[in-house]
Amino acid sequence: MTTAIIYSAVLVSLAWSFAKDRTKTRQALATSAKSLVNLAPGVLIVAGLVGLVIGLIPGEVISAHIGPGTGFAGTVIAAFAGAVALLPSLIAFPLAASLLRAGASVGTIAAFITTLTMVGFVTTPFEAKQLGLRFTLWRNALSFCFALIIALVMGVIL
């Protein structure tokens, strides 16, 4: 679905660009080829890390630690789990809903979803390559802290 949208956008833009200026379009594609070479190592590393993390830590282990009765410690663990995990939202939200039904608190679920989306442990090498290591560490650390704050506030208001 997302892929279809992206590729339609690419085709439309390419057609538009080609109709407007061929030389510029060729120049753009040369740049694209160069970026592809730059992006390739990151893709390999991230795919490798994702496999190691998701493949070696079973889902039952995660839910056992953030389930009912785990309190704020459970929330912090959920935040870490979210930071490390890489799940598509189509899977993450049903999973979060099932954890909620199983007795996890609203705060714990909020922490999990927030770090899942905003903090990317396994994508760190890729982000650092594009934006610098210092930027990456700051952005992820701040997002992690805010995730815990969001979890606390949501636990109070909901």
């Binding site: 730059n38 496999g51 939202s89 809903a97 990317g120 805010f146």
Partner: protein, 181 residues
Amino acid sequence: MKEQKSVVRQFMPAVLMAAIYIALLAFSPVAGKQVLSVSMSYFKEMVLIVPAVAVLMGLFDVWVPKHLIEKYLGSGSGIKGIVLAIVFGTAPTGPLYVAFPIAAGLIKKGARLSNVVIFLGTWAALKIPQIAVEIRFLGLGFSVARFALTLVAVILTGFILEHVFASAPEVNRRRDPNEIV
């Protein structure tokens, strides 16, 4: 020759990763196969999207003039820049790793750092299609509360990061101006 050498160096971590996988497969074939199948499915997903992103980046580089980005997302863009960064971020587009090269491109073209961080944050956590799924599974109340709080958090993160990098904007300077993405 020098160019070739740097390409080889770029792929060194990937070679290291392959070595870990080979070791894992030899040491524990069951776990190794499971890990490999997860990483392969993720790899396929990325391979599908990354070339499209590269093409868009190339077009962006050629067609979007620096002064436009500076005007709409640069240091004088104010509230409008923030709103624009949020609109860009919430648009239905790919996963977060797609946004990193775009963010790097925006910085290179003179966008304000806080706006780039806001763009990344909304892209990550507040995408419209994602919110629809969230409402369906976790309820409107949860979704609205998370949206509002995350928006505040993302904007604050943007300003804090800008403050941190005000003295040493390595993100702007670290790249060779001839190198793209």
